[in-house]
Structures are given as structure tokens and as C-alpha cells.
Amino acid sequence: MIFFGTRGLTLTGDSGDFFCPNCGSERPYKRRKVRRFFTLYFVPLIPLDLLGEYIECLTCKNTYNDKVLELAADVEADRKAFESEYERAVRKSMAIMVLADGVVDESEIDAMTSIYNSLTGKDASREDMALEIETTKNEDLAIEDYLESINGQVNANGKELVVRALISIAYADGDFDEEEQKTLIKALSALDITENHFKEIMDDFKS
């Protein structure tokens, strides 16, 4: 425990009702802000910069960026296209995992599509996933850097879903190689997942 320094805290802002793309209807929401605070004797004193902000649906616990509040309930295409923060994270993280061993084969793209659609309830195509992999390859992103950058936009629920996606894609080809193991460990560390929590997720995955 460091008594003097900075600490990130999740604060609750305004609330209201919004059209949740996942639930498909009006739902209550809360605005969450992750803000860095200067602390003295571990007491947060001075608010500093904003690390992240998201809209959390209180029903399904999905998190979204601000633009979701402008979403019109009657525009089906908009609703289906709107991705929550965790859905974006799942897609990007799986792409990084697939690229971990340097070889991308067709079965991995199929697995990625299937896992993404299963976890999110969306209907993404194979081409969408292939494009994501190509984009991620050009970005040359390390998984721990990416996940640390989204730490302020995804809640605990979202992080768990990202972990499930990573485990699923790692085991998809039946061969959980060393590079994939290293990438998974880096990801879990960046998401601040504890050993006990990871064991629970793995037990659930295996069952």
C-alpha cells in the first residue's frame, strides 16, 4: 500500500434511461468515470485526469461510449451496428491472440467469428474478423498495452468476458502453445485478474 501518490477510482455520474443495444429496449443506465486522484494517507484528495468514462447498462452490465445515448430506438441498423466497449475489446484481443504465434489460418478466423458471435450475440461475418486481424497486424499492438489503454472503459463484467474470449480462442485449435500462454498471462495481468478469479473462469470454461 502506497500512502502518497495517485490512485484510480471509479465514480458514478449522472443516470437515466437509454436504449440499450444489447437488451434491445429502454433500460436504466449510470455514467461511470474512472478518474485518477492524488492521495494522501490513502485518502483521495485532489482529482486529476480522467482515465476513462463509459455508460453502463444496469440490466445487462454492458458498457458503451457516450454515443450510445444518441442511439435511436427505431433505427434497427444503428442498434445492431453499435458495439459495446467489451465487444470491441473482445474482437481486438482475440485478433492479437490469433497473431501471437505469427501464423493465421482459416480455422482460427472461423473460431474467432464463432466465439465473438457466441459471446456478444451479434452476427459478425468471417470477413469482419479477417479485417480486424489485418488491421491489428498493421498496428503491431502488444496485448498488455491495448488492455491497459481500455482499462477505464470496461467494467469488471466486460473484463471477464474478454478473458473468456481469450481462453476460448487459445484453446480453439486444440494446441495451447507457449506464445499463446505468454500472451494470455500478459493479458490477465493487464486486466488485473487474480489467480482465484482466473481459476473460477477456467473451471467454468472446462465445465
Binding site: 500500500m1 502506497i2 502518497f4 495517485t6 471509479t10 490513502f42 469488471a156 490477465l188 482465484n196
Partner: protein, 223 residues
């Protein structure tokens, strides 16, 4: 910048206390008060320097609520120990030979700071505010951890004890014994439980061969 801000805020807080008690002039001639302010500033600078590269984001949940509350209380109790000691000294200054008291008190504070800095540098990213083990984390048994299992907690107690001794404060001592020690004990117990759960036999072996608080000099350390 954060380190400087922390040290300055910390110093201002205690200077304000001195001012409110009407003992402002005591800063210029009381070596105990000067030593106290210097020791507190060193503690604050060292601590904030350690934390400058890290910003731990804590999301409160049912699982970590107790640990977070304990951590918050520890911070406040530490502040109370320092403030109570200072207040008591200002109101009831003790007539003592200053140099030995100042030297031993300050040395104890510096020992505590050293223990905490060593613990943090050994653990690095595994140094958390609350007991937890992230995936991929290894059990750290080397360095300062080969002498004692809880150097950062011992460091905290040393710092508090050093301040209380420096200012010869009975009130500060009572707060330390009645509040800080039990809370530290409870926090240590929760940490040990967490580590035992994750590392099982390795932690049991480490626990059986390494003392919790007082190092046994000359004893071979099982690493």
C-alpha cells in the same frame, strides 16, 4: 511533480496543525518538531517516489470491500498517530536530552522507510494495496523477503514507532498499540490467507522457514 506535491501537502498539513495550536514559534527552536517535520517529509517523498510510476485502479466489489476499508483505515490511523504525537508534544513538551532521542527516533523512521522501499523494489508490480495475486505472479522469497515475510508492514510500524519515540508521545503510542497494530495484524493475516490459497505448499515452506516480523540473524534462509 506528484512526489513534490505529496511532500508539500503533507508538510502544510502539519504546519497548519502547529499554527492552529498557536505554537508557530516552536518550529524555530524545538529540535523535536524540526526532526519530526524532516522525518515525515522523508517518509512522504520516499513513498510517493515509489508510487509515481503506478496508478492502481481499484474497482470496489463485494470481494475486496473489507480489504479496501482496512487499507483506508490504516492510512487514517497513521495520520492520527502522527497528529496525536505532534499535538501532545506541542501542548506538553517533554524536557529531555534531545540528541539521543532525536537520533534514535529518526533512525527508526529511516529504517522503516528503508524496509518499505526495499519491499516495493523487490515486489515491483506485485506490490498492491490489498491482498491479491494476479495471474503469472510468482511467490517472491528473495531479497528483503528472505529475512522476513512482511517487511512493508514492519516498516510501517517502525515509522510510527520512530515518530512516537521521537516526540515521546504517550497518546501516539496508545493509538499505535490499540489501533495500528491490530489493523496491521488483521491485514497480514488476510494476506497470508490469500498467499496460502494460491501458492499452497510453496508458501507453507516459505512460512515455516522465514519469520513473519523479527529476522533471526545467523539462521540459514531456505529460499
Amino acid at each position: 511533480m506528484i512526489s513534490g506535491l505529496a511532500a508539500l501537502t503533507n508538510l502544510l498539513f502539519f504546519l497548519l496543525q502547529i499554527f492552529l495550536l498557536g505554537k508557530w514559534e516552536q518550529i524555530s527552536y524545538d529540535p523535536f518538531v524540526i526532526s519530526f517535520l524532516a522525518a515525515i517529509s522523508i517518509f512522504c517523498l520516499a513513498e510517493s517516489w515509489l508510487g509515481v510510476t503506478r496508478c492502481e485502479v481499484i474497482e470496489v466489489s463485494k470481494k475486496n470491500r473489507v480489504d479496501l476499508i482496512l487499507t483506508q483505515i490504516t492510512g487514517v490511523v497513521l495520520l492520527v498517530v502522527f497528529s496525536a504525537s505532534l499535538c501532545e508534544h506541542l501542548i506538553y513538551p517533554v524536557d529531555l536530552e534531545s540528541s539521543a532521542h532525536i537520533v534514535t527516533g529518526t533512525a527508526t523512521v529511516l529504517l522503516g522507510v528503508h524496509l518499505r522501499v526495499s519491499a516495493f523494489r523487490k515486489l515491483e508490480n506485485a506490490f498492491f494495496s490489498m491482498p491479491k495475486v494476479t495471474v503469472g505472479q510468482q511467490l517472491v522469497v528473495g531479497g528483503i523477503y528472505s529475512f522476513v515475510r512482511h517487511p512493508s508492514e514492519i516498516g510501517l510500524v517502525c515509522i510510527s514507532l520512530g515518530i512516537v519515540w521521537l516526540l515521546s508521545s504517550l497518546l501516539g503510542f496508545l493509538v499505535l498499540v490499540l489501533m495500528l497494530l491490530p489493523i496491521s495484524y488483521f491485514r497480514v493475516a488476510r494476506e497470508e490467507s490469500c498467499l496460502s490459497q494460491v501458492f499452497d505448499k510453496d508458501y507453507r515452506h516459505y512460512k515455516n522457514n522465514t519469520p513473519a516480523i523479527f529476522p533471526i540473524l545467523g539462521r540459514k534462509r531456505a529460499l
